[in-house]
Amino acid sequence: MATPDIETPTAAANTRAGTGTTFTRFIGLATIVSMIALGVFGLLLSPADVQQSDSVRILYIHVGTVWVAYVAFAFTALSSAAYLWKRTTSLAWDRFAGASAEIGVLFMALTLLAGSLWGRLSWGKFWVWDARVTSTAFMFVTYVGYLAVRGLGGSHQQRARRSAVVALLAVLEIPLVHFSVKLWRGLHQDSSVADRTNVNLHGLMLFSLFISLIAFTLLYVWLLMHRQRVLAMQDDIDNSGLDYALQQRRDEGDL
């Protein structure tokens, strides 16, 4: 398909314009600043906890990552529902769902890692069979599966519908898993994480936690926007990229 009206961007625009805009650059800068602040407050300025001593510093990371993971998965569910809703079958919603799930999986992995390191220090073991801990791990595996479903191939609409349905089924599954694990642990009369997580929050500690939430939320927004744009370009290239690449090579030949 010869499309001579394709606007050939100049080389300068090509190399400089990626997925960034003024807005994302602003968010990115704010993220870096708040992350540095998190490091300073979390590692240096905030005091050690009375009961947990320094291991509480891990929580500044842990709480931020788990927050982002939950937000990301919730956004995946909402975008999937938006995609399936009547006639809004816009692929943008599907790409938001996919980008968000990918970020969620990364942060869930980091959450599990930080959580188990913290658990080793506070409880003496990397893992406890608590309902919240266990269903978090299930959530992680579920969204790894979701990403695998996205990678199955087929047309973009096919991928979008399939993965949207899987994302909504995950919303059905996760509370059920949580509930059943809770019931299961209930029989063993094990004290839950909540009982053993008495952190007496000092003012500066609360402030560090607050910085953590802000920093990781900004990071999520930045990552989501960039990832969504990359996915959009990927889809466009799947559709028409070949034509364009051929056109470009021809143009090069004409020079």
């Binding site: 625009a13 490091g39 590692l43 050690a48 291991s55 913290w118 990832r227 959009a232 990229g241």
Partner: protein, 44 residues
């Protein structure tokens, strides 16, 4: 500081993998952007 190893490991791994992920996205974005005309990039 007690348990310095565990605490530093958490911070380094977290920031490190987030940074790696972010850099990978940006690089992929630049590479793909070079292959597409501006009209397919509504954010520019």
């Amino acid at each position: 500081m007690e348990d310095l190893g565990f605490i530093l490991a958490t911070y380094i791994v977290t920031f490190g993998s987030v940074a790696a992920f972010a850099i990978a996205i940006v690089r992929r974005g630049r590479r793909l952007a070079a292959q597409l005309p501006a009209k397919d990039k509504p954010w520019t």
